[in-house]
Symmetry: C2
Subunit: 328 residues, 2 copies
């Protein structure tokens, strides 16, 4: 089976490709376990730091907003797509037209190319907890979407498309709403949430990090390890277990920033925890306070998705996966 990963140069795309190469199989729409013959990492740029030199792994660059390029990418033999490509939150807010082109039109291009295959391929769409928007209660699967960012609105439209293309039998789709991923490896990015990884990642690597929000701010989070497991499980899941509602909110844990710092101290010691400098940035504090601090993800749990157990587990997983077991 040939698999395409869009947004393949991002850290989730690369980790997913590595997990697929190791695993070597995925379950198709008929419930048959298929050997992976080709994994195409598609992105606007070449992925950096790809470790695997595997004949099954191909890298392609291109523009997801170009319908012709995407048709050519999906080709005539793709058995499944992980659609991770997106213009992230802050960027989609700054450049509305770019967000619409990549996040909405890009998703349509992928779905149309899959429909053209005529084989109803599996499509796992990376959606986001940003679809919920500002709410006065803990949302669940049945809560209205009132996104308060263009990114969230575009993801919500993508979910509706995935649902409708699945209902029509054009694809066999599943939209997974990702919590904030903590601890992201690599460097800080321009997302307002980037500090949540930095305040753990940098101290673990012996560097200082600034925390721009108050310790009581709560976030809904999931580790890189669990998100890769969720993407694979989301692909393998039989369609009949999903029924007509193809969107799922992934289980995460609700942790305050203070609890994150406390876990760092427990797992890596006083010295590491002392590398966090608390300097309030009112702009970031305001943005992050508007996010959903917790979500009831009972449906996804019942379907076999799982969250991290606690913050300590998230910190330990990072030390194992990214630091070869050693704290600086």
């Amino acid at each position: 089976m040939r698999i395409v990963i869009t947004g393949g140069a991002g850290f989730i795309g690369k980790k997913l490709a590595q997990a697929l190469l190791t695993r070597g199989t995925l379950t198709d729409g008929q419930g048959r376990v298929q050997t992976l013959t080709e994994i195409v990492l598609f992105d606007v740029v070449e992925p950096e730091g790809l470790l695997h030199d595997d004949p099954r792994l191909l890298v392609r660059t291109g523009d997801i907003g170009d319908a012709g390029e995407v048709r050519e990418l999906i080709g005539r033999e793709t058995g499944g797509v992980f659609h991770l490509a997106a213009v992230v939150s802050a960027n989609a807010e700054e450049d509305f037209d770019l967000g619409m082109r990549v996040n909405l039109d890009g998703t349509r291009n992928i779905l149309e190319a899959c429909r053209a295959l005529g084989s109803s391929p599996k499509v796992v769409f990376a959606s986001s907890a940003a679809v919920y928007g500002a709410l006065d209660r803990v949302p669940d699967e049945m809560t209205i979407l009132a996104p308060q960012t263009s990114y969230g609105a575009q993801k919500a439209m993508g979910e509706l498309l995935v649902n409708d293309y699945s209902r029509k039998g054009f694809i066999d789709g599943r939209s997974l709403r990702l919590p904030t991923i903590v601890i992201r490896p690599g460097k800080p990015n321009r997302a307002a949430s980037t500090f949540a990884s930095s305040i753990l990642r940098e101290p673990l690597a012996g560097q200082e990090a600034v925390c721009p929000v108050k310790p009581e701010v709560r976030m809904y989070i999931l580790s890189p390890r669990r998100v890769i497991q969720a993407l694979l499980h989301g692909f393998d899941l039989p369609a009949e277990r999903l029924g007509q509602v193809r969107m799922l909110t992934l289980p995460g844990i609700s942790a305050s920033v203070g609890e994150m710092a406390a876990a760092l101290k427990r797992v890596a010691g006083e010295e590491a925890a002392a590398r966090i400098r608390w300097e309030l940035d009112p702009t970031i504090q305001k943005i992050v306070s508007g996010w959903v601090p917790d979500i009831k993800a009972d449906r996804a749990r019942a379907l076999g998705f799982d969250s991290d157990r606690d913050m300590d587990e998230i910190v330990r997983a990072h030390i194992e996966d990214e630091l070869a077991g050693h704290v600086a």
Copy 2:
């Protein structure tokens, strides 16, 4: 103020134009009452049976799926848009691409043309109770959208766009979810709901009508009179009363088909009610049973929208408005 009505050849578009000509004013985004100088009815076909010969009324035909035509239609001076144009339910289900082109791309074209004005014009978008889809409970404003038709999915995406364009300040939008409109004047159409008007309209005009569903089937309905009032009220409403969530479910009444027939008998007599032939059509019975039979529309009620009082009022309004007071 110049007003554009898309879908202007439909019965709601024509009734709305007539109500606007009679009224002569609308409230702009700054709360100022503006005199209507031009009302443009835009549709793919010319409207039939327009009674008014009014110098303020213009008719234009064109393709809403063509971005250039729509930009030209909205021009540089449009003060407000009622966006009613749509490929209806059964048609969007049969011809997926046409539905996407008109219902999604057409809506985007309207919103982009309004954004290009730079004046953040008011846009009233006619959405539909079809956005809800199959649910196991009575939905309200906070219930998830899980549309089970392409029409419903396209309307739900339109709502998300109206919300986001409003949040960005590109437009001052409001999406009104319309219940099934009963009693529609004119001829039966291809909508699965068409019988709900036919079983009242035809007997009132002295003709037989077939009812293809069981008397206990419940529907969420609103009269043409009330829908016109709602569109005007939805336009005039100040943005600050809507806040960030620009979608509203219009209040309707939940009536069983048996109650509709009983109202016909009470208002128009035994003879009229006897003109309904009950012939079950399992296909239509199945489609209609999947619809939401009732919705809690508390938010719209609090904002001054109102439903009909009961079925008798709906039947009487039709006799007054369409039959000059006389039952056949």
